[in-house]
């Protein structure tokens, strides 16, 4: 009996090892094509044209007026877009979470995300041109809100509709009026959704490429656009610095998100399929 189990246990153990091997190809692939390229960005950020170590790129980026304007523009567009999305999106998500047909209706809010952002942006641009609207900051902001509003509504809706109704009833029973119920019960319970909505709008807004360019006729460049331009012009050093700054934004926001809650943000647009 004991020898029989021993015989059986052995191949099983061996298989445990071979199963792990299944991931090795993928790990190798990821190290080669995801980790190594990022390391190269890091290295390039500290190299000059001749390949010598330098911090000149940093200085150039943080002192050059044009790159500071881009940084300022990006932060401005990012903050304003996020704020507008939150202001428009919260009431929508709140109302949807209290409607019996909310589950179906929210679908209609996120469906447009399935369409490539470039196509949606060009469609809005065509309409702006037909309406004789001057392309500039206003149209860029509209385009950003139009593109990223669903990214705000979905996490908000998820967190608002998962609030236990008995909390709200308890607050009402204890004598809170409607605004108090909202401010003291609903709002605090939806902070997780608000935070993930904010990051999911802010980061893509500042890093996106082409939207601001197209909707301002090339007048307004954001971070994403200028990273691309820098690399296009062969300015790898400065481009790498900008990528690092962008990466810092991504990592900080991701860290904050993990802190606040285990919101599994696999990208809202992707969850549609």
């Amino acid at each position: 009996m004991t020898s029989a189990t021993a015989v059986q246990a052995k191949p099983r153990k061996r298989f445990k090892i071979t199963k792990r091997v299944f991931a090795y190809l993928y790990v190798l692939f990821m190290v080669l094509f995801v980790v190594l390229p990022l390391v190269m960005i890091l290295v390039n950020a500290f190299l000059d044209d001749g390949g010598n170590l330098t911090v000149e790129n940093f200085k150039t980026f943080f002192t050059e007026e044009s790159s500071l304007i881009i940084l300022g523009n990006s932060l401005f567009v990012g903050v304003v877009t996020t704020a507008i999305c939150l202001l428009i999106g919260y009431p929508v998500a709140y109302k949807l979470s209290r409607m019996s047909s909310g589950k179906i209706l929210v679908l209609f809010f996120i469906l447009p995300m399935g369409i490539n952002f470039l196509i949606r942006t060009l469609a809005t641009k065509a309409i702006f041109i037909a309406m004789d609207v001057t392309l500039g900051m206003g149209t860029v902001l509209f385009g950003m809100v139009y593109n990223y509003l669903p990214f705000m509504i979905l996490p908000l809706h998820t967190s608002l509709s998962s609030i236990d109704k008995s909390y709200i009833e308890a607050a009402q029973d204890l004598g809170a009026d409607r605004s108090t119920v909202f401010l003291k019960t609903v709002l605090p319970l939806s902070v997780g959704g608000i935070m993930s909505g904010i990051t999911m709008v802010f980061i893509p807004t500042i890093s996106t490429f082409a939207i601001s360019q197209l909707l301002s006729n090339g007048k307004i460049f954001l971070f994403g656009d200028s990273i691309q331009t820098k690399f296009d012009q062969g300015l790898y050093g400065v481009g790498s610095i900008m990528s690092l700054v962008m990466l810092a934004f991504v990592l900080i926001s991701n860290f904050l998100m993990n802190r606040i809650g285990k919101n599994n943000n696999v990208g809202v647009g992707r969850s549609l399929w």
Binding site: L25, L38, V92, F108
Partner: protein
């Protein structure tokens, strides 16, 4: 009374926002039948724009872009599904420490902004002199698709009863048979949704393709072709027709998939309720 009014206002608000969200899409579809790009029906109702998909001097470029899009998407989706499936099984049976490391690396392409991933790959390809063209694009697409495949298979592995697999071994199946006959069937839903996801993400990509396609090769996918053409000249009627088709196809597909999901979920809830 006040409550009812608030209710009506709330609903009206929702429909106003929805209307704004869909206005550009509907306007493009409506005016795709005008044969002009000025948002008027001066030429009357016509299918000219749709005909020009086949007859315009741009149609060869458009069709080759569509071909490239599908070719890259199919290759990337197949490779990343195979690699991702094995990777998920491997990660699942790793020790806790190494598993966390690999899962974090897997998360990276998902949280990272596309533009950073795009330029980092470009530096890499340029430095190591990868041949410009399809090879770069396919590698890049596999790199951002596979993590999603892994993510859609992992939960299936987690929820799988490990005893079933062990039982197969106990009943005399060799590990290979246990894998193909027992493990794979149990995680098939995850593999299928991973494949679909990879395919869709690959088609949808613009930023990473645009930056890694190389100017000299002349390779375009649908999105990069749209960008290169429409950026310069604005939208011709031709594009109204193409966009309208994309709108209808994508929205119909998404609506079907998601309504089906909701119905399945409801049926499940009912089942649990009955029990």
């Amino acid at each position: 009374m006040v409550k009812k009014l608030g209710d009506i206002l709330g609903k009206a608000y929702i429909f106003v926002i929805l209307a704004i969200l869909y206005a550009p899409i509907i306007l493009i579809i409506v005016y795709s039948f005008s044969g002009s790009s000025n948002f008027n029906f001066d030429n009357g109702f016509t299918f000219e724009a749709y005909a020009s998909i086949f007859t315009s001097e741009k149609s060869p470029a458009l069709w080759s872009a569509i071909e490239n899009t599908l070719l890259i998407a199919v290759i990337a989706a197949v490779v990343s599904t195979v690699m991702g499936t094995f990777a998920a099984i491997g990660i699942y049976s790793m020790g806790r420490r190494s598993r966390r490391v690999v899962e974090n690396v897997n998360q990276f392409p998902i949280i990272n902004s596309e533009i950073v991933m795009a330029v980092s790959l470009m530096i890499f390809f340029v430095t190591f002199a990868f041949p410009e063209g399809y090879l770069r694009l396919i590698i890049a697409h596999i790199a951002f698709c596979t993590p999603y495949v892994v993510l859609s298979i992992m939960p299936k592995l987690e929820s799988m009863d490990p005893n079933v697999y062990e039982a197969a071994l106990d009943l005399g199946a060799n590990p290979f048979r246990a894998l193909t006959r027992v493990m794979f069937p149990m995680i098939t839903p995850g593999i299928v949704s991973g494949f679909i996801l990879a395919f869709v993400i690959s088609i949808d990509d613009f930023i990473i393709t645009q930056i890694n396609k190389g100017a000299a090769t002349g390779i375009n996918t649908l999105s990069t072709y749209i960008y290169s053409d429409a950026r310069v000249q604005g939208l011709e009627p031709f594009w109204y027709a193409v966009f309208s088709i994309i709108f209808v196809v994508v929205l119909a597909a998404l609506l079907t998939v998601n309504l089906w999901k909701i119905r399945k979920q409801k049926a499940k809830e009912k089942e649990v309720g009955v029990q």
